[in-house]
Amino acid sequence: MLAPAPSVISEILDNEVVIIDMSTGYYFNMTGSATNIWQCLMDGTTPEKICESLRVRFGAVPDIPAAVDTFLEQLRAEGLIEDAGSEPPPAEPVGLAPELSQTPTGEQFQPPSFEKFTDMAHILLADPVHDADPTRGWPSTR
């Protein structure tokens, strides 16, 4: 089962996601099908169930499994998700977040992606003792 990493916090807003990784200082924005995938991940899920959820929303699009695999690998590489143990007992309806339990919307499937922002990372990556600007101070770095 996959789930967000413990250092990750996220908020969904207007079908977009803002994610902050507090271990790196990076933050991310997601839209479209990436939002749907992240919503599934927040409850802990499997790649198969993510694909099932997307098929409910977008219809039987052949590209979905490959796109999901690629996206999950990207999330893993960023440290945003991790294995979270075995799968929980099935809930009703199986594998579908409530918001996604609906008939196809007619919306066209677009491969999931995210935007990554690193402009806050210096605050976390710097050593506050040795890297702080000696005159302007933390969080200004040398």
């Binding site: 806050m120 506050p128 101070g137």
Partner: protein, 338 residues
């Protein structure tokens, strides 16, 4: 071990208090009264002025008591080698804010850059520093920020990295990372006669309706103020600052306790002549507000993020394209019209 640390810290504060006159005062914000006990004259002289507009009389039955001392003037050090890993103190530190601070129990903030350390329990806190005379502008502008941040969170109030100002009880919060123009915007508005809440760290009461609460009557600028802002501000509070430490000002007028928030504004420095406001999405506003508020503040986490999300989703959000400081107030005329 944590109880031992707390008892030792309290005991050493009492040792410091026995060596000098204790200055007692209190602050009150959102109906919460915090008693302050300072052992060491230099400490109160530095820490109290930014809190001037929330000061009240020291009295019985406070919601929180902070007991503070400095080693330089009292000769009393901090009790134990707090940075000894063997103590396993549940400490938070700038740059290591990967965990959300709990709302109960003992919490420690280790400010190694400033040479300060704070311990918060449910209704008591201690704040120690080696030598307050070495505090940089940011610590002098926002004293005891982390203790106050953690304690106000237990009351449902959130410290955020934002400025705020308004008129007739309503106003805006100014969000964004350091250097985005928060101070310039807030001070330009204050110089035009608008009510000032803060330029960098304010408290948010989520409401409804959401309110911005004043905490620190300070403002920091990279360069000494000029023009209308300079005419409104008192003299620089840290004329002896070194290098390019920010110029610190302590506002003596124009401060109000709180305003109802009617919009979230993210400034952007531009070469434009006149400042203008453009609508942005809630996600754009949240992306400007949350990372700098959370990443730069130890112990802020999902609770703070959720509060900011709700704020951005329930209010109109704008990008302020910053022009000359004199043009800033006019950009808000329509938004803040009654």
């Amino acid at each position: 071990m944590t109880e031992t640390l707390w008892n030792a810290a309290r005991h050493h504060w009492e040792l410091a208090a026995a060596k000098c006159e204790v200055k007692r005062s209190a602050i009150e914000v959102a109906g919460q009264r915090i008693n302050l006990e300072f052992a060491g004259g230099p400490l109160s002289a530095v820490l109290l002025p930014p809190l001037a507009h929330v000061l009240v009389d020291f009295g019985p039955n406070p919601d929180l008591t902070i007991s503070a001392w400095d080693s330089a003037s009292t000769g009393v050090g901090f009790p134990v080698a707090t940075r000894d890993a063997r103590l396993r103190i549940p400490a938070w530190r700038l740059g290591e804010s990967t965990e959300e601070v709990p709302l109960t129990g003992m919490r420690v903030i280790d400010q190694q850059v400033e040479g300060a350390l704070g311990i918060l329990t449910d209704s008591q806190a201690v704040f120690w520093t080696q030598d307050v005379s070495t505090f940089p502008a940011w610590e002098r502008a926002q004293p005891m920020l982390h203790l106050l941040h953690w304690w106000f969170a237990t009351r449902g109030l959130q410290v955020v990295h934002a400025g705020a100002f308004g008129r007739n009880g309503k106003g805006v919060i100014i969000v964004g990372p350091s250097g985005s123009g928060k101070s310039t915007t807030a001070l330009s508005a204050a110089a035009s006669g608008m009510d000032y809440i803060g330029d960098d760290r304010i408290l948010i009461d989520p409401g409804p309706p959401p309110r911005a609460l004043h905490l620190y009557a300070s403002a920091k600028l990279l360069r000494p103020a000029q023009g209308a802002i300079a005419r409104m501000l008192p003299p620089i509070a840290n004329p002896d600052r070194t290098g390019d430490d920010k110029a610190l000002y302590l506002l003596d007028s124009g401060v109000v306790p709180s305003i109802e928030i009617v919009a979230v504004v993210a400034p952007k420095l531009t070469g434009d002549r006149n400042a203008t406001l453009d609508r942005i999405t809630a996600v754009e506003a949240l992306s400007a507000m949350a990372p700098s508020s959370i990443v730069g503040t130890p112990g802020a986490g999902a609770r703070a993020f959720s509060l900011m999300r709700n704020l951005c989703s329930s209010l109109p959000c704008f990008r302020l394209r910053l022009g000359s400081p004199e043009s800033v107030p006019a950009a808000f005329e329509e938004l803040l019209a009654c």
